[in-house]
């Protein structure tokens, strides 16, 4: 499949996050909650896009994971997304920074960031606290 890579955008729902994948700016944004029953149905296209993007990425890619909630079946998909992104630096095709956000007080989301960072071993992986909503 050699068709030029398109922007990928979906709006958030009560069960799935907002996704904004932009090959022109190298900005990857996943924001909201990921708690669908059919995880692959939602994440499959995101993973496909990332596979395609990382074969020809911008010189600098910045990914923002800003999740309120995710279920265990989304965990594997988030991990696969991070692994896909890591290929950018593994293949020396560019630099990568991942920002993982957690709400002040949400220890579990902080721990999840630490776990992912430990498993994927992306060197530029920052865990950032954001103030609680409203």
């Amino acid at each position: 499949m050699n068709s030029p890579i398109q922007k990928f955008q979906v709006e958030a729902t009560s069960r799935t996050p907002k996704v904004n994948l932009d090959h022109e700016t190298g900005k990857i944004e996943i924001k909201g909650r990921s708690i669908p029953e059919n995880t692959i149905g939602f994440w499959g296209p995101v993973l496909d896009w990332l596979q395609q993007y990382t074969s020809d990425p911008k010189s600098f890619t910045e990914a923002h994971f800003c999740l309120d909630y995710f279920n265990t079946s989304s965990t594997k998909c988030i991990l696969d997304s991070l692994r896909a992104l890591k290929r950018i630096t593994d293949d020396k095709k560019g630099t990568l920074k991942v920002n993982w956000y957690y709400e002040d007080g949400d220890d579990d989301m902080y721990d999840a960031g630490v776990d992912f960072r430990g498993i994927v071993k992306i060197s530029e992986f920052e865990i950032i606290m954001i103030p609680p909503e409203e």
Binding site: S14, R15, I35, E37, N38, T39, I40, D68, Y69, N71, T72, S73, T75, K76, L79, E103, D104, G105, D106, D107, D108, M109, D115, G118, I119, P132
Partner: protein, 191 residues
């Protein structure tokens, strides 16, 4: 003959009220039902002005409990058995209540006896692990194995155990030669 006479309804109401029952449901757990339950509980946690930590924990654990019911109810009738004792296909029970000590979630569903044995072994294995053991198991499954067809790769129940830091309380009731009823109590201790 109805199980409840009208005078029993007030009784039922009082019992639920006194025990701070936030929600109870019996029936098929569909995707729409899960959305509705989550919305109701999220609103209640907001009204109760719980901390971010408590809100997130209760919500997360509830998601896993509901999705366990959604994915793992053994469909009745697959074996060509028409069994009046368990005739309600995919039907489950759910109850959420609050005590001074925290939030409690009970779920119950039918499953095949052969699966009951497997599940019991899994639960005992998980209950035997300490905090570090649970983390290791969780990360091992996450980094080494794919998702199963149900999506979770068996992570859900481990996630409940690690998030709550409590042992999983469970009970299996044999219904007949084919089916058991599995009840699970999850405790989210807040004080």
């Amino acid at each position: 003959m109805p199980f409840f006479g009208l005078p029993d309804i007030y009784d039922l109401y009082q019992k639920m009220h006194q025990n701070n029952v936030m929600l109870t449901f019996k029936g098929e757990v569909t995707s729409e039902l899960i959305s509705t339950v989550l919305q109701i509980i999220e609103n209640k946690l907001e009204q109760l002005e719980e901390s971010v930590k408590v809100k997130k924990k209760v919500f997360n654990v509830l998601v896993e409990c509901l999705q366990n019911l959604y994915h793992h109810v053994d469909e009745i009738g697959n074996n060509g058995i028409n069994d009046p004792e368990v005739s309600d296909t995919r039907s489950a029970i759910l109850m959420i209540w609050k005590e001074d000590s925290g939030y409690y979630i009970v779920t119950g569903n039918h499953l095949l006896n052969e699966n009951a044995e497997m599940l019991r072994n899994r639960l005992d294995k998980i209950n035997a692990l300490d905090k570090a053991g649970l983390e290791n198991l969780y990360n091992d499954i996450l980094s080494n194995s794919g998702l199963n067809s149900k999506g979770g790769g068996g992570l859900g129940i481990i996630d409940i155990a690690r998030r709550t830091g409590q042992k999983l309380e469970y009970y299996f009731q044999t219904v007949n030669d084919v089916y058991s009823f599995f009840s699970l109590k999850t405790s989210i201790i807040t004080s």
